[in-house]
């Protein structure tokens, strides 16, 4: 796991080692990046951080940091896991010998001799670590999860094996966990009203698939709107974001195809790639040298054993990586894709709406042409306050998917009020509703992101990811601190998401904040002071190079310039 962070820290300056054997003349942008990176490092706001800005490809500075884990912290974290594992074995021993009651699913008495159905190592982790700090997850919310939310109070008398509800409600908890980037998760306002009207007119259920009797005029309208929003020829919407990835990749790739996947891609992409039956090769996170090497090898060697050329090569990347808060180096990926004639599948689950001066995702952020990406995928769950996903691209592609995709043929189509919510919020973002609310929210989100990230960094926390990404992972490392952080923050009326082992490498446990346009400066300040207080209490201000409060990028300065009125 320390290896993992070492890889990450090597990402930015990997070109120092990996350009050997390559002619600079043939590889202009790598060389270019090398020079600019040095310049950037000299006048960098954050000392010792990797900042690379490819003048030819990037229109804005690309500042991304993954501070390495302090050695002592890594050692103590492993020690903590060691102690917890020992106690886990002790408890398993007690359960085995019936000294203690086993609460978790286990084999039936008559199937004792069978191959175990439930018990494996991940289960050991669930049983003996996750259960102990389970109170920080799955909290029932009893209001709209906007900038503030109400939680149902619950207590556990048997160390989190069961929960009892006290009947009280924890009011006005500041929500730093929902993917509500543009604040469209609301129960009032034009979007919610439009959705309510739609419910009165169409009802909620559809009861069929798109190919049969589940195709409503609202879906057609939404698809046209999405295509216009993205700037592509055509688009298609699905009722579930996860299934959009996992069911459409198998339609696009099959045996004899090669999928090049980022190592930190979301499970839905991984699942889709595996279901497709194609060969999968994984490149290091956001590392273009690694991707280029894989592409070259794929073209030179072809398929294993037969050495036939690959039928097609599909590069799968995400816009914003949800656990690292990093933004894909899209201009470089597109340059590589064009050079090696591969296809590009871009998952904009977190970035659509949240990035770019017009909220059109990572393409808008880098100022690129949507035609350069073959398959544009995204979700409506996050910025639009709805549910489901879309795929955008050439008309041929969408027509093909309509006929081939399992999501189109077998999945129930999107609920009409959800479709209406997405239409309303998307029009708001595009400014087609005649207001500037959407634009203001995009602006507000960018401002909040910069403010929140800068303040956290100044406090001395280790913050991962790109400076413009609204996903803000804050490192906690030690297993006990995961639980303690969630509990202490809730005591201070702030709801946070804490993430541990299966979702992250085992020692890189973290808290993940999602900044929203709905957060006011007051809320952010309250949250920040609470985070600072808890950070002092738990000693999680690990950063070894503290950024001094700087005026290089004033808080009030917008991240995006107003390009038009």
């Amino acid at each position: 796991m320390t290896e993992c962070s070492a890889n990450k820290s090597a990402n930015g300056d990997a070109c120092h080692h990996k350009t050997n054997g390559r002619k600079p003349g043939r590889n202009g942008y790598v060389k270019n990046r090398f020079h600019l990176q040095r310049q950037q490092l000299q006048n960098s706001f954050y000392p010792k951080e990797k900042a690379s800005c490819n003048g030819g490809l990037y229109s804005r500075p690309f500042l991304e940091s993954f501070e390495e884990t302090p050695m002592l912290v890594a050692v103590l974290t492993y020690m903590g896991y060691g102690i917890l594992t020992i106690f886990g074995y002790l408890r398993d021993f007690l359960r085995e010998w019936k000294i203690e009651k086993c609460h978790i699913a286990r084999e039936r008495e008559e199937q004792k001799e069978f191959v175990p159905l439930y018990q494996d190592f991940e289960n050991f982790y669930t049983r003996n670590l996750y259960m102990r700090i389970r109170d920080s997850w799955n909290r029932p919310i009893c209001s709209v999860p906007g900038a503030k939310m109400d939680l149902v109070e619950r207590v556990s008398h048997d160390y989190n094996w069961t929960f009892n509800y006290t009947g009280n409600v924890v009011k006005d908890v500041i929500n730093l966990g929902s993917y509500n980037y543009l604040g469209f998760a609301e129960n009032s306002g034009p979007c919610a009203n439009a959705a309510a009207d739609m419910t009165m007119k169409y009802g909620v259920g559809v009861g069929s698939t798109r190919q049969e009797t589940g195709n409503l005029d609202k879906h057609e309208e939404l698809e046209q709107l999405v295509a216009r929003f993205l700037g592509v020829e055509s688009s298609m919407v699905f009722g579930m974001g996860f299934a959009t990835n996992s069911m459409n990749i198998p339609a696009l790739a099959g045996k004899g195809c090669l999928i090049l996947s980022d190592e930190l891609n979301h499970t839905s992409l991984v699942l889709g790639a595996r279901l497709s039956g194609s060969t999968i090769r994984v490149f290091k996170h956001n590392n273009m040298q690694s991707l280029e090497k894989l592409l070259r090898d794929a073209i030179v060697h072809g398929q294993p054993r037969t050495h036939r050329p690959w039928k097609k090569i599909l590069i799968v990347v995400e816009g914003i990586y949800s656990m690292e808060g990093s933004i894909v180096r899209l201009p470089e990926v597109i340059a590589l894709k064009k050079r090696y004639k591969a296809y590009l599948y871009l998952d904009e689950a977190h970035s659509i709406g949240a990035l770019g001066p017009h909220g059109r995702g990572v393409l808008d952020y880098f100022g690129l042409d949507p035609q350069d990406v073959d398959i544009l995928m995204g979700t409506f769950t996050k910025s639009f306050g709805g549910a489901g996903g879309y795929i955008g691209g050439k008309k041929d592609l969408i027509d093909y998917l309509r006929a081939q995709s399992h999501s189109a043929a077998y999945a129930t189509s999107m609920s009409p009020p959800v479709a209406q919510q997405i239409i309303a919020s998307m029009k708001c973002i595009m400014g087609e509703d005649g207001t500037t609310i959407g634009r203001e929210r995009i602006h507000q989100l960018a401002e909040n992101t910069v403010y929140f990230r800068t303040r956290l960094r100044e406090m001395g926390f280790i913050i991962y990811g790109n400076n413009d990404s609204p996903v803000v992972p804050m490192m906690l490392y030690m297993p006990a601190k995961i639980g303690a952080f969630g509990r202490e923050m809730l005591k201070r009326n702030i709801g946070v998401v804490v993430v541990g082992f299966p979702a992250t490498p085992i020692i890189e446990s973290r808290a993940r904040f999602c900044v929203s346009a709905g957060h006011t400066r007051d809320m952010l300040d309250t949250a920040l002071s609470a985070i600072s207080e808890v950070g002092d209490l738990l000693q999680v201000k690990y950063s070894q190079h503290r950024a001094s409060p700087s005026l290089d990028r004033a808080f009030n300065e917008p991240a995006y310039e107003e390009t038009e009125a």
Binding site: L76, M79, G80, Y81, I83, L84, F87, L90, L129, R132, I133, Y159, M478, P479, A480, K481, G483, A484, L537, L538, Q539
Partner: protein
């Protein structure tokens, strides 16, 4: 005089309170770093018993044996140095 006394007792009270708070904080950090924060009380007491017994034994053994070892080491090294000096003296003669 009386107020003085009060202030003295108050300040000592404050000191005791601060010390107590500091010890609580230290114990909390110990809980977090070892990871036993998440364990049930009886598991915590097992861990604490084992851990503090080990620490106590280490301290006790070092108290008992380290002075002896240091003395022996000193004797050995001084003997070594002394022997060398003698031999050089002998050579010189």
């Amino acid at each position: 005089m009386y107020s003085n006394l009060v202030s003295v007792t108050e300040s000592s009270g404050m000191d005791v309170k601060n010390l107590k708070e500091y010890l609580c904080w230290l114990y909390y950090q110990y809980l977090l770093i070892t990871g036993i924060y998440v364990l049930e009380p009886w598991e915590q007491s097992i861990f604490n018993t084992v851990f503090f017994t080990m620490v106590a034994m280490v301290i006790y053994t070092s108290y008992v044996f380290v002075p002896i070892h240091v003395r022996l080491a000193l004797e050995f090294f001084s003997g070594l140095c002394g022997g060398q000096e003698e031999s050089t003296v002998a050579l010189m003669n």
